[in-house]
Symmetry: C3
Subunit: 209 residues, 3 copies
């Protein structure tokens, strides 16, 4: 198993939890929970594989990913019967999935010798698309677009840092670990202290400053 496969596996698991929690907030039935969990978990990596023309797509090559997703989604349903999850558990699971998938995507693009900007964009796409799908299917504004949520910013910064640490020559898997810590750290700090980027507004009642 390669490092990017291990990252994909953990990413898939935590995104499955995030999908099940999002479905629970919308009071979907059990199949809806599984559908949202699958969409959240495989969305980013699938788009990455299609864009990079890597076939078979990761979950078609190793169907065990699907089993992991279904098990994680059903376990989430089960444990929330006894233990009410804190309000922000969805955001925490999402932050971890973002970290694992972004670095997995960046790493795959880097191995294929793409330009640095493509490595960063591919990492970001792999990291954010599953969550966007999850939120669109749940009819929520995607987290990536909610104001004052350092989200794509965290993915881009982490992927760039990962790349820089690789260029510097840090031994593997240190760059991956540092990149993931940076993404999860930035994201959690943004949730905790409500950090935000400047806003661009063309709204009539809120003219640009």
């Amino acid at each position: 198993m390669t490092l990017s496969q291990i990252l994909d596996l953990i990413g898939v698991g935590v995104f499955a939890v995030s999908g099940a929690l999002a479905a629970g907030r919308k009071s979907l039935d059990l199949m809806g929970v599984v559908v949202i969990a699958i969409a959240a978990s495989i969305g980013g990596g699938t788009l990455r594989d299609l864009l990079l023309n890597r076939h078979p797509v990761f979950w078609i090559a190793s169907p065990s990913y699907l089993i992991v997703i279904v098990v994680c989604a059903l376990l989430t349903v089960a444990w929330t019967r006894w233990f009410r999850p804190p309000n922000q558990s969805l955001q925490y699971a999402d932050a971890l999935g973002l970290a694992f998938f972004t670095i997995s995507g960046a790493q795959i693009a880097e191995t294929l010798n793409f330009a640095p900007i493509i490595v960063i964009v591919m990492g970001t796409i792999t990291g954010v698309v599953g969550g966007v799908l999850r939120d669109i299917l749940c009819a929520e504004i995607p987290m990536i677009l909610r104001r004052g949520n350092i989200y794509a910013t965290a993915a881009i910064a982490g992927a760039a840092f990962y790349l820089a640490m690789n260029v510097v020559g840090l031994p593997r898997p240190l760059p991956s670990l540092l990149g993931m810590s940076m993404i999860a750290g930035l994201r959690l700090a943004a949730i905790r202290w409500n950090l935000q980027l400047p806003v661009f507004s063309l709204d009539r009642d809120n003219p640009p400053r």
Copy 2:
């Protein structure tokens, strides 16, 4: 013409009708009707072909699919001028499209010797994605997520049954016919008697039981 091509052709026709009916409910113009009909009809099979790396994609290989879609969409517009369709005709057309496309997708994945879980997932994706696209474009909650609508469940059960009948060794095309009957039957029964799966709720005012 192979069996899966015939299933695709019928599936495309009934999904075109479902798309036109959905567009009519939103009072779109004629081009909107055609756009929604095309998205509903080719969405599932297109994603199936991209995921399985089958090129050219089915409707690019045989452009007659597109003509069938446009004709079915315009005929739907024409006949609803004289005959007001019953309220549930959209759901009926959708149920038939789900049945045809799910089995077509499962069959193609099976012919390519994928693992059973991939055959089932690929059938389900082929069956449900067109309807999800149609509903998102119409700004409706996708049928697949509406509570108490045995939807993905019907597709999964039918694809699994199709697969089991094939393993058992039933002569073709019996497994396909049985699988499709099961999907359409389950779906129509769910609409008729309002069958539903247990709900998973993390909603504050509706705590998990």
Copy 3:
């Protein structure tokens, strides 16, 4: 650089402006502006390349597209601080992007010797998908579906006209220029004089005529 690459480059730039303006209306932060600009700019061409199995996808092959997008998006943020854009600038940028991308998509499909209907559909998909993505991400009804907006109609008419002028034997790049002028012209005329196609309505309170 081929003609279709030049069209892609200009299309990418104007769609980036349209994406930034759409994000500004929703008061997103700077990263949200960049994300929406990228989705609007690369959505159509990416789907075209995936459907036609052209790898690497255009912006992966030439990462400079991404730099153009980011620069155009940030310049849009900058100049709207001093100069308030007219209300319809989003629609104007969108009309130009539609024109450039539709002809670029049609041209690529034509070069690959696809049937005329596929050339037209591929042009239309290339032209409209970026805008649809932009509007879905901004939680707006996609322009393509808003009633009384000659939109897909303009793309289809322009792609067909481009094709006819090629068959007639007009020297290049005249067919491309005429096709693009037709699309932008139809679209701007529709905005200016509020042209519309007949509406298909199954709405209870608004029976079909």
